[in-house]
């Protein structure tokens, strides 16, 4: 099936483009790549990027070079839940290494890998601006802060439960 935004999303796209002066629709590229990633499985395939290029009347390379520059765009498939654990100084002080190792063991995956059931991906990221609430990770739209092993257990459990309900 061809990549295609829903009508609702398309309206949102038009609303975003209208924020910029005429002819400057390229400015909408970052927000629309976010919408595309949310709409098409959490990552940007070449087909998706080409689709975004066609909407904004850009060359394909203009989209590829942006999609590969910013770390929040996934250019490879990821799991349904992506654990993005901060490992920069202030989180390291508060034990982010242990948290990362615990997740690795618990999910039996390495950093950058996805569990076989396609549910979880583990990524390490650089400072997310939650240094006072370390260790922390991003999960979807929100931050999970003051992480402990017990909290990780709960988060994994909740994700698994929510995934099985939605299936």
């Amino acid at each position: 099936m061809a990549v295609q935004f829903s009508q609702d999303t398309m309206n949102k796209v038009q609303e975003i483009i209208a924020r910029y002066p005429e002819g400057k629709q390229k400015s909408a590229l970052l927000p629309i790549l976010h919408l595309a990633q949310e709409s098409f499985g959490g990552w940007l395939s070449v087909e998706t990027m080409d689709y975004v290029a066609s909407i904004l009347n850009l060359t394909k390379i203009e989209v590829y070079e942006v999609a590969t520059f910013y770390s929040m765009y996934n250019t490879k498939p990821v799991g349904k839940y992506v654990f993005e654990v901060c490992q920069t100084g202030p989180c390291m002080i508060e034990g982010s290494d242990e948290i990362i190792n615990y997740i690795k063991d618990k999910l039996n995956i390495g950093v950058g890998e996805t569990t076989q059931d396609g549910l979880f991906t583990l990524k390490t990221v650089e400072c997310l601006g939650a240094c006072g609430y370390a260790p922390m990770m991003q999960l979807g739209k929100h931050y999970k802060e003051h992480l402990t092993k017990e909290k990780i257990d709960t988060i994994i459990e909740e994700c698994s439960k929510s995934a099985s309900v939605n299936n």
């Binding site: 850009l58 070079e65 770390s71 390291m92 006072g132």
Partner: protein
Amino acid sequence: MSIKLLLDKVHVEGIRTYEVYKREGGYRAAEKALKTMSPDAIVEEVKKSGLRGRGGAGFPTGLKWSFLAKPEGIPRHLVCNADESEPGTFKDRYLMEFIPHLLIEGLLIASYALGSNNTYIYIRGEYAWIVDILEQAIQEAKNNGWLGKNILGTGFDCNIYVQRGAGAYICGEETALIESLEGKRGNPRIKPPFPAVQGLWNRPTVVNNVETIAAVVPIINITGEEYAKIGVGRSTGTKLISACGNINKPGVYEIDMTISVEEFIYSDEWCGGIKNGKRLKACIPGGSSVPILPANLLLKTAKGETRYMNYESLNDGGFVSGSMMGSGGFIVLDEDQCIVKHTATLAHFYRHESCGQCSPCREGTSWMDKIFQRLEKGQGKMSDIDLLWHIQYNIDGNTICPLGDAAAWPVAAAIRHFRDEFEWHITHAAEAQTRNFGLAHYADPLPVVQ
């Protein structure tokens, strides 16, 4: 007694909503500015206040505003830099999350002063939930006549839009931010031309940090002259400090820049002392880019004078024995922390965040990261220390934007002040895998403060 100008109302229940913010005196400054002041008078007021950019560079805001070119018939733009990404810094997030209307009100006043009819907030992509909070606040402001067309019958039109970044520290640099806002990779531009002349879509543009814009509200309320009386010397007004690391009370604090570093760390009003009764080893007082200082140089200057939490005092001694106020990201390390390991995470950070445009930064950050990994694995050589020193020296000042400097400084300061710890890592490679160097001989001369 602490003076609060930005966070005085942050704990009022419901302050995130327009109704409560307005009830608590919100939008008074906007009304005063738009109804009784000319745009130039606002710029003058900000000049008088002595307000300096709160993003890190500390450049006088009024002066920056006065540089804005005003060619006939070309729109101008105000862009708010909410790309807060400097490790240790989480103050803008706090402000936007809990008192968003303060930013919106500040943006309205600044937009009026600068003649920006379309103003953009560029927020780091990870703060996704804050985008909703800001958009809600913008909608409320619009519904109440503070945004849109002909605001308060003045004939001034203003729209504010929130643009999400997508995970790139470099976009906190103003020209990279502008590139990103134009839908491109965040590669900083060569200056000149400065954004004040050719910025967003080649139009005159001012880029200001969130806290800077928020500070405009109290400046208009109490006047620039009164604002300038708070603080000391050229460190006027209040500053938000985000404190983290091994302290009892991590969080965001508003200080008036007259308190000493020691008071800030040990007083219960602020950080509440070092956690678990440990001793202070070192501190990065202004975000990861600024030089780390060992406890003795942090609390007192090289001349033996008390060091204060303001721009001048933190910089006393330059980079030889001082540091910087920077973004106000205050990272405290206790006696159990390893300086080599901590600096290694920062070296890794800068390697990841280098945009790759300039070779000294692209290659240099990569080499520094690799050498730090080697040291961490216990495979370091004594010559690595000088090698690191030379690499940082060759990055510093040799790149288009300050990211190169930001990557060089932490490494330089770590070696300058903790060279013996680096040496120990190499001479005691196996031991360094299981324990830290601790305080050793440069130790904190102060006893544990309970």
